[in-house]
């Protein structure tokens, strides 16, 4: 197809889809109505399991099976990136150079890094009580480490992230989610069943299994995102392509 024909075909089709979609949205329930069918059922179920953050309850209790699938997608993505971003036969890896940074930037990084780690751990640990949880806190934790790169250089980041440990932690956290699900099956007769004592409402130990699932996902997301970014950053910073192979070979 010529670029013109392609564009025309796409624009006409997109316009038709747009018209149909817009018209169908007019049939949606109107905004701000009083009927919230799933909301009512989910809030009741979350309160019954003494989980103050209903979103976490949906994610890690009511529909934990979805979350198992989603964290598996992340795990799979990390595996895929590890596999695809391996060194090809014609690529060489060399150490990154150290770079000059303003002392104030360095200071800011040194102050922010521990603060961000604490915030991340807080968000993961309080997922059953307040907005947040394993996914969000995990990303904050991963970001914290990368402050090392932003405020110093790539060599600092490499010293901050023990990739082998993180890689293994990522796998073990993914496995532990499934394993806890099987434990629910063994103890309560249903896969991913919330079998632990539910605790006191609005206390950090409440929600039964929810904090445990939160922690597993938090570890997995934090280590997974770091490993994922590490492969991409390595490609950008340390890996060179063809051309260098003759001199080294």
């Amino acid at each position: 197809m010529s670029p013109r024909a392609r564009l025309l075909l796409f624009l006409v089709s997109a316009a038709v889809i747009g018209v149909y979609f817009t018209l169908s949205c007019r049939e949606l329930p109107s905004f701000g109505g009083a009927s919230h069918p799933y909301g009512e059922r989910a809030v009741a179920a979350a309160l019954a399991h003494r989980t103050a953050n209903v979103v976490s309850s949906v994610n890690f209790d009511l529909r934990a099976f979805d979350t198992l699938g989603e964290e598996s997608i992340l795990f799979c993505t990390v595996l895929g990136a590890t596999l695809l971003l391996r060194l090809a036969r014609d690529e060489r890896q060399h150490a990154a150079a150290s770079e000059a940074v303003l002392p104030t930037t360095r200071l800011l990084g040194a102050v922010l890094l521990p603060v961000t780690v604490v915030v991340g751990v807080y968000i993961v640990a309080h997922g059953q009580l307040s907005p947040g949880g394993g996914f969000q806190g995990g990303v904050v934790l991963a970001t914290a480490l990368h402050l090392g790169y932003v405020a110093a250089d790539y060599r600092v980041l490499e010293r901050l992230r023990p990739l082998v440990v993180l890689d293994i932690a990522d796998s073990l956290a993914a496995a532990s989610f499934t394993a806890m699900g099987v434990a629910g099956l063994a103890a309560g007769g249903a896969f991913l069943k919330n079998v632990l004592p539910l605790g006191t409402f609005n206390k950090i130990t409440s929600g039964g299994m929810v904090p445990l699932f939160n922690a597993a996902v938090g570890v997995e997301v934090a280590s997974g995102v770091i490993v994922l970014l590490a492969h991409f950053l390595d490609q950008a910073v340390e890996v060179t392509g063809t051309g260098t192979q003759e001199e080294e070979a």
């Binding site: 997109a14 949606l28 596999l83 796998s171 629910g184 896969f191 991913l192 919330n194």
Partner: protein, 605 residues
């Protein structure tokens, strides 16, 4: 063990196996990884086989103990569980096939390939067993994520990365459409469970929201199933993916797309307030026939063996879609038997092609002319596989085709012709290649000047170890798969039980009662669905195989241009040109397909 254990375990086993392999791969030697991976896959096959033999009607398990209104419910009938079993059998076959075959990265990346395959399996099994629309979407994405990465596995070559990128982008775009559709449906019904959604649909009349949400939800499945015009990514991805991955993509993943269309239609849209049966039947029969013909014609045109096999998958998926579109238990029974047998035969053929790639570093029909004369056993297996694809009795493909033809003939008298033509052309193309490669039959083929061809020369072998002996598993696995394909046709119990599953599959009341209660499922009188060979079926199967052989022999002995009408020739050339490999083109076709489906269903409701 009970359903409550077996259903979730079928998903949990590969999900446990994959991370353990990723960790263990760092310390275990290659053999240890292979044993661990094969063990996990075998355990899952046992689990699903137990489940399959247990099921009466629909096996239902609430995950986490929550009912369908709040949580996620796993629900499997014989068709869904059968597909999961097929996918798991193929995963086991693939892992065994790759024991000695595959160059895996060493060191910390050892064990990642089997781990990815297990994750892929978890996606396929979860999608086949779930009874929840959003959960189905999640597992669909898991399948996709693993599929994209596995397709791009050979990073030294830019072509696999290109193929994986096309695969990933087209499929992700379609997934966004599905997510939009799920959102619309959720807003309408307040439910995500398929059965509960279907029940709530009856509270409204059919309006544009139903039409658009249906089209959007099935878009992702149409893309996975490679239905024309959503199919362009498939040959590009299959031609470049490692052979063991092709066995999974063509044998099970593509078929799951077709299964998803049937499942979602029957459970959600088949009742009042949904999509009228006639609208679904007409539109999807047309799509299926178009897909079958395009796949068959394109398959005949190829000389790159993997592309040939990929287009034959497109052709056969068209037939599966026709079977589902008939909206009769007979049609679904035919499609189910056909899918089971096709998966085995197609995986076997990809496996045999992998041997050629390993021995000669090429998958080109012309380039390999006469070079595999000393691999006669392989040639015989290849011919058997091609004949199985053509529908030769007693292979299961023949039985599935016969059942499908009988069901289709009731609806439209001309539909069986499409079955015969598609099987004959796809089987014929493979027979033609086998005759040339293994027997050196006919004159040396040469390409016509000025014709754009994807040759299949210069492919990278998947192992760099020149001069080694052929690993026995690489022949044993395809042979076993072909035997399995024959078993599906010869053991009446398999087809009978799939036919009973098809009767359940096409009865939304049974599904709804099983998932939503009442506690005592109502005992519906299920119709008897034919599942045995008939004289007519044997005749049509034999006829297709004979036609395939005739096509192949004619093409090999007299490689002259057929006296086709100039218009037909122009049409075929135009069709080939459309498969341009340009990602932008594919996205434009995807948009056109969605728009056309919106218009078609909008006009019919």
């Amino acid at each position: 063990m009970t359903d409550a254990t077996l259903l979730p375990l079928a998903v949990a086993i590969p999900l446990l196996g994959a991370p353990l392999l990723a960790v263990a791969g760092r310390v275990l030697p290659r053999t240890g990884c292979d044993v661990l991976a094969t063990g996990a896959a075998a355990a899952d096959v046992v689990c699903l086989a137990l489940l399959w033999s247990h099921i009466q009607g629909v096996a239902v398990t609430p995950v986490g103990g929550w009912p369908a209104q709040i949580g996620i419910v796993l629900a499997a009938d014989r068709v869904g569980a059968g597909l999961a079993l097929l996918a798991s059998c193929l995963v086991l076959a693939v892992l065994a096939y790759s024991w000695r075959y595959f160059d895996e990265p060493r060191g910390e990346r050892a064990g990642l390939f089997p781990a990815m395959v297990l994750t892929f399996q978890a996606g396929m099994v979860g999608f086949a067993l779930t009874g929840d629309l959003f959960n189905a979407f999640v597992f669909f994405e898991l399948m996709g994520a693993a599929g994209y990465a596995l397709t791009g596995y050979r990073i030294e070559d830019p072509r696999p990365l290109q193929g994986a990128l096309t695969f990933g982008i087209v499929n992700s775009l379609a997934a966004y459409c599905s997510l939009l559709g799920i959102g619309l449906l959720y807003a309408r019904t307040g439910q995500l469970n398929l059965a509960a959604m279907g029940r709530a649909m009856g509270e409204h009349r059919t309006d544009l929201l139903v039409v658009v949400s249906f089209v959007l939800v099935v878009t992702a499945m149409l893309v996975k199933a490679a239905v024309v015009p959503f199919h362009f990514w498939l040959p590009d991805a299959h031609a470049v993916a490692p052979t063991p991955v092709c066995m999974l993509l063509s044998g099970a993943m593509v078929e799951l797309g077709a299964y998803g269309i049937g499942r979602v239609y029957w459970t959600v849209f088949s009742g009042p307030g949904g999509i009228p049966h006639d609208a679904f039947r007409h539109t999807f029969t047309a799509l299926g026939v178009l897909t079958a013909l395009v796949g068959a014609v394109m398959c005949w045109q190829q000389r790159h063996l993997k592309r040939m096999l990929a287009y034959s998958t497109v052709g056969h998926v068209g037939l599966f879609v026709v079977g589902i579109a008939l909206l009769t238990p007979g049609g679904v029974a035919g499609a189910a038997v056909y899918v089971a047998a096709h998966g085995c035969a197609k995986a076997a053929l990809f496996g045999l092609t992998g041997v050629l790639l390993d021995r000669y570093g090429s998958v080109d029909e012309h380039g390999l002319y006469g070079r595999a004369r000393d691999l006669r056993l392989l040639g015989v297996l290849f011919v058997l596989g091609a004949l199985a694809l053509a529908g030769l009795p007693p292979f299961g493909t023949g039985l599935g085709k016969a059942l499908g033809e009988a069901a289709a003939g009731h609806s439209q008298a001309w539909l069986p012709t499409v079955y015969v033509l598609t099987s004959a052309l796809t089987g014929g193309a493979l027979l033609r290649a086998a005759l040339r490669i293994f027997w050196g039959a006919g004159p040396v083929p040469h390409s016509r000047p000025g014709e754009a061809e994807t040759s299949g020369e210069g492919e990278e072998p998947e192992v760099r170890e020149p001069g080694r002996a052929l690993p026995p598993m690489m022949v044993a696995v395809p042979a076993l798969l072909l035997a399995l394909c024959a078993l599906v046709g010869c053991l009446p119990a398999v087809a009978r039980s799939l036919a009973r599953g098809a009767a359940v599959f096409t009865d939304p009341a049974v599904y709804r009662a099983a998932v939503l209660g009442p506690a005592v499922a109502h005992r519906a009188v299920l119709p008897h669905v034919a599942s045995a060979w008939t004289a007519e079926g044997l005749l049509l199967g034999g006829g297709s195989a004979a036609a395939a052989a005739a096509f192949a022999v004619l093409a090999v002995l007299r490689p002259v241009r057929l006296p086709l009408h100039r218009g037909v020739r122009a049409l075929v050339t135009g069709l080939r040109r459309l498969h341009s490999g340009h990602l932008g083109d594919y996205v434009a076709w995807l948009a056109l397909g969605v728009a056309a489906l919106c218009a078609a269903f909008g006009a019919q409701t």
